[in-house]
Symmetry: C2
Subunit: 301 residues, 2 copies
């Protein structure tokens, strides 16, 4: 699982900083998460193939998470895309994109499939044989979801030596990898655990931005491998969080600690601070394994 | 009069090239013309003060001329703007911007004044004591206008020596600068031309993008100082102009020649060509004074 940060700064795009967008590579999917203005240029800059993106998840309809989407959709058309594109985002996203395409008389040649979200409870919004994606309802000024990406546990790994020792016929391998015990032709029953190893751990990634401190997300993200949590402010500006519905680095770290996640990535920094290191310093006093998102940074999760 | 090219390439924004946007500085106005994705970053990069922009002219509602506008409008809000902002563009622009602001619950603190355009004939859309702006109806796939910016002829310049020689009282200066003849107290009539010099020439700038070759714009832009005319293609791709409603460099030069403009600036280049010099080479065979727009280039007109 790889995470490429295309942009992770709050508010407006600037010469050297980009608004929120990231690409999660998970089990052969390239999921685009949020799409601030300039995302398509960031995709080019970081050499991410446009054709590999088939699913776009939009947390909320503030410009710094969304205003790059109309242009990206147009660019897919210019690049000759013909595959379906699935877009998951708040109710209204379809109306907005459709109106912009209509005004430009620039309908796509490919099918845009909108999955509009309006539930205030977590929903399973994507599932295939290897991955699930659930919404994480957040607390922001407008309707906002985070997203929880989970790999499914794969098949058990065949223990090649054990299989040879018991002279197990290949015909049984499929069931063995599914975790079943087997009975050999001579009647002996062999426990699955003697023939297999545990599958590689299923990884998980939770994206939570934008949101005020919301402790009730903790049960849903319990034990995830990696949590990206917004930290627009430091505690010195905690008084601004109630009005803006953003979180501080310390609050993000508290969520990480209480959810017992393995790693916390901070992002969505206000540009009022001199250095993003300040966010790490504040968070690390609460939770040890903190990393800082930055534009262009690649996390091998 | 100064023209800053923020972006002048066709279609999608790329790492090193930007879609259409330019700033015309004319008689203390900073007029923003078109607003492709990334325009606000280009404004920052070229140190143009956001607060000086009070009028935005949008030629048409294709993304590469328009998708930077929602983000720019949001940024003006974040910067604490309270002055009115006037936006001139095709009918539908108000609905689009209003919907995006509504979805983000991000209404501006300042007044957005939309001047929606739908006439197929040229209209006077802005006038103050020093400048006029008229639409130039163009021929593109969607409803599109170019814009003709004209300085008004200023007051005549007082000939200080002549005024002293005739002992003209200061009380007459106002009328003299307006071009009136005067009668002195002793009854002598003095022709205005003996007391004044011609005012500085009133300059004009015509922006024509996007458009197919449209000879009937020639009378309207006759003798303008500077014409920016799109040249998406070279003549080798002339067969594409009918479907796409774009022009070639040679066609742009033909308009410039027939309109007897002083200078032609080419732009809106397709990125299929190796060098934009090819556009100049083609145009210069028809019309001598050709310059190439390029992102970040400043023209002192």
């Amino acid at each position: 699982m790889n995470l490429t940060i295309l942009g992770c700064y709050a508010a407006t795009p600037r010469t050297l900083t980009n608004p929120t967008s990231q690409v999660l590579e998970i089990k052969n999917h390239m999921f685009l998460i949020d799409c601030g203005e300039g995302t398509q240029v960031q995709l080019r800059k970081h050499k991410i193939k446009f054709s590999r993106i088939n699913h776009i998840f939009i947390s909320h309809l503030h410009g710094d998470h969304f205003f790059g989407l109309p242009g990206l959709i147009s660019t897919f058309r210019l690049l000759g895309r013909d595959k379906e594109m699935h877009i998951y985002g708040p109710k209204g996203i379809k109306e907005a994109i459709t109106l912009l395409l209509k005004l430009g008389d620039s309908w796509t040649n490919y099918l845009l499939v909108f999955h509009e979200l309006s539930s205030k409870k977590s929903e399973l919004i994507f599932e295939d044989d290897k991955v699930t994606v659930e919404t994480i309802p957040l607390n922001h000024r407008v309707y906002t979801n985070g997203f929880l990406f989970k790999e499914k546990l794969g098949e058990r790994k065949l223990n090649v030596d054990a299989v040879a020792k018991y002279k197990v016929d290949k015909a049984y391998f499929h069931n063995i990898k599914k975790g079943k015990n087997i009975i050999l032709d001579d009647g002996r029953k062999i426990e699955n655990k003697l023939l297999t190893f545990d599958p590689p751990a299923a990884k998980s990634y939770a994206f939570c931005s934008d949101t005020a401190y919301k402790p009730d997300i903790v049960p849903q993200i319990k034990n995830v491998d990696t949590l990206y949590h917004e930290s627009t402010f430091l505690e010195s500006e905690q008084h601004l969080t109630d009005r803006t519905k953003h979180a501080t680095a310390k609050e993000a770290a508290t969520i990480a600690k209480n959810a017992n996640v393995k790693k916390l990535i901070l992002g969505h920094y206000s540009t009022r601070y001199k250095s993003i290191q300040l966010f790490k310093e504040e968070a690390i006093s609460v939770f040890e394994n903190v990393e800082l998102a930055d534009d262009g940074k690649l996390f091998n999760l």
